[in-house]
């Protein structure tokens, strides 16, 4: 019986590295540029450039390669599906055909392009969450969105919600496991039968879980109020974000690299 034991959420890998020490805002914006850049390249040169940069970043981040690869695991079905769709359903010059199945040159190219693109997108985004703690990520987002506060955008509240949600995921997994065990001890069979039966079997887990969640939320609200939490206004930080020369350099580099990759890739594809 595995329960939820093997679930690792919040995949932050706390090691010391150049990438880890960058300001979260720099990493968020930098990654956005990279994602757009990855999305805009079409040919082998572009993908090669993005692939090499990624290898460089991974080695600089000192995150084990196994963990970096594991970021793709949740989406590999999507990647495979997209690639297969493009492989079989793109019209063009036939490479070979087999009954009604026909594979075209254009199809093979599109499949490779879409597959690579998705994998790179996920891995770049994954590298961000591997090297940035959830708190830093929330702080970074809050700071980036704070200019929009003037238009009524709740930057602080959203960041606080994100932090709290991330903080409580492990706790809730523990509670879920405990309740599942308690119901299994009373003879519940959570893993048998079709989807409908399984769903029904989960009611004895879900109801107590909801009760606990609401209780926790209530307790947390009380605890925050007791500590005088009144929202984002005038709130100071324990670890204020510090933008340094390193961050400017890194951000400039990612912007320039993105433009260069897209430009060189486009030129290489010209006839």
């Amino acid at each position: 019986m595995r329960f939820l034991n093997n679930m690792t959420l919040g995949q932050y890998v706390p090691v010391e590295s150049l990438v880890h020490h960058l300001d979260p805002r720099c990493k968020i914006v930098g990654v956005l540029f990279c994602l757009v850049g990855v999305f805009m390249v079409k040919g082998p040169l572009g993908f090669l450039m993005w692939g090499l940069l990624f290898l460089l970043l991974v080695s600089a981040s000192r995150v084990p390669a196994r963990l970096v690869l594991s970021t793709v695991r949740p989406v590999w079905i999507l990647v495979a599906f997209t690639a297969v769709i493009h492989l079989f359903f793109t019209r063009g010059e036939p490479l070979f055909s087999w009954g009604i199945v026909e594979i075209t040159r254009e199809g093979a190219v599109m499949a490779a392009r879409m597959g690579l693109r998705l994998v790179l997108l996920v891995m770049y985004a994954g590298l961000l969450t591997l090297t940035t703690s959830p708190t830093e990520l929330a702080d970074g987002l809050e700071s980036l969105f704070s200019p929009f506060r003037r238009f009524g955008f709740p930057a602080h509240e959203l960041a606080m919600m994100m932090t709290i949600a991330l903080r409580f995921i492990p706790t809730l997994l523990n509670e879920t496991e405990r309740i599942m065990k308690a119901q299994i001890a009373r003879g519940a069979e959570l893993e048998r039968g079709g989807p409908l039966r399984r769903l029904r079997a989960f009611i004895p887990v879900l109801v107590p879980l909801f009760v606990i969640v609401f209780q926790r939320a209530d307790d947390l609200a009380t605890a925050m109020e007791a500590r005088n939490y009144t929202g984002g206004e005038g709130r100071s930080r324990m670890h204020p974000l510090k933008w340094s020369v390193r961050d400017t350099t890194a951000l400039l580099f990612s912007v320039i690299f993105s433009f260069a990759a897209v430009f060189l890739d486009g030129r290489a594809l010209l006839p």
């Binding site: 019986m1 299994i184 001890a185 004895p204 009760v211």
Partner: protein, 280 residues
């Protein structure tokens, strides 16, 4: 008829950075119709041990068997064992989910496929044992008081008719009448021939009620024996996280001062001994 635990080792998350050896070679035997208390400091592995007794966790090494059925994956062995061994988790009232007390208590028997004609008797018997009257059968479990919820939760385990009952800190958070009632219930169940495995950190309770005591220390069974033997050991040497009951310390001091009294944890026994040693 007994639960036999031999050389039980349990490792959480083996092969990962989170690897923890929670149990390290635990052996003991819980007979039907007897009361075994499991005591130990926080994190000594009591709850982990409890979950092995009905197969919610499986041994990394060693074995657990219930009335001769080995607890292991497959062949329906787990379900058989779970029906024989009822497990009451800490704060069991958190697992309530049904709309009425009656439905809640019939959840277990229905899962075990107990026929409808005996179901009603089972449920009423279980609720009767914990002292919940028929006026509450249709009540919403979430509206009951804390103590009542606890009793309904325990009834919902009893209604499956387990031969053994494992309870993880069942008295935590109850007031003293509630505690008394619960302990009386466990004594009754023992008299009815069920085996009780009572996890607690209250040494006084363990000494006063158990037939056998298992002391866990860092996942190892550091002591296993009758209460008087365990008490002797406790006085001889320090066991982490366990305190000698006040009454025993009191008796010990009286002995030092020359009174002929037994080392006992029961106030009336001590009182009588003092009275007699005065020669009146």
């Amino acid at each position: 008829m007994s639960i036999d635990v031999k050389g039980l080792v349990h490792v959480y998350h083996p092969g990962t950075p989170l690897e923890t050896k929670a149990l390290d070679g635990v052996s003991f035997k819980a007979e039907k119709g007897s009361w075994v208390a499991v005591v130990g400091h926080t994190g000594s592995g009591k709850s982990t041990l409890a979950q092995h007794l009905n197969g919610l966790l499986l041994p990394t090494e060693g074995s657990v068997s219930v009335d001769g059925i080995e607890v292991r994956q497959g062949e329906g062995s787990l379900r058989k064992v779970r029906q024989k061994v009822g497990l009451v988790f800490q704060y069991p009232e958190q697992q309530l989910f049904e709309e009425t007390v009656f439905k809640e208590v019939s959840f277990g028997p229905r899962n075990w496929g107990i026929p409808a004609d005996t179901l009603k008797d089972r449920v009423e018997e279980a609720l009767g044992l914990v002292g919940i009257g028929s006026d509450l059968y249709e009540a919403n479990p979430f509206r009951l008081s804390g103590g009542q919820k606890r009793r309904v939760a325990i009834a919902s385990v009893l209604s499956s008719g387990p031969d053994y009952l494992v309870l993880d800190e069942p008295t935590a958070g109850l007031d003293s009448p509630g505690r008394r009632q619960l302990l009386d219930l466990l004594s009754n169940l023992k008299a009815l021939g069920r085996g009780i495995i009572h996890i607690t950190h209250d040494m006084e309770l363990a000494l006063g009620l158990a037939d056998m005591i298992l002391v866990l220390d860092e996942g190892r069974s550091s002591l296993w024996g009758r209460p008087d033997i365990i008490l002797g050991e406790l006085i001889e040497r320090d066991v982490r996280g366990l305190v000698i009951p006040d009454m025993v310390r009191f008796a010990g001091r009286l002995r030092d001062l020359g009174f002929e009294v037994p080392l006992t944890w029961e106030p009336p026994v001590l009182a009588e001994a003092i009275y007699r040693s005065q020669g009146r």
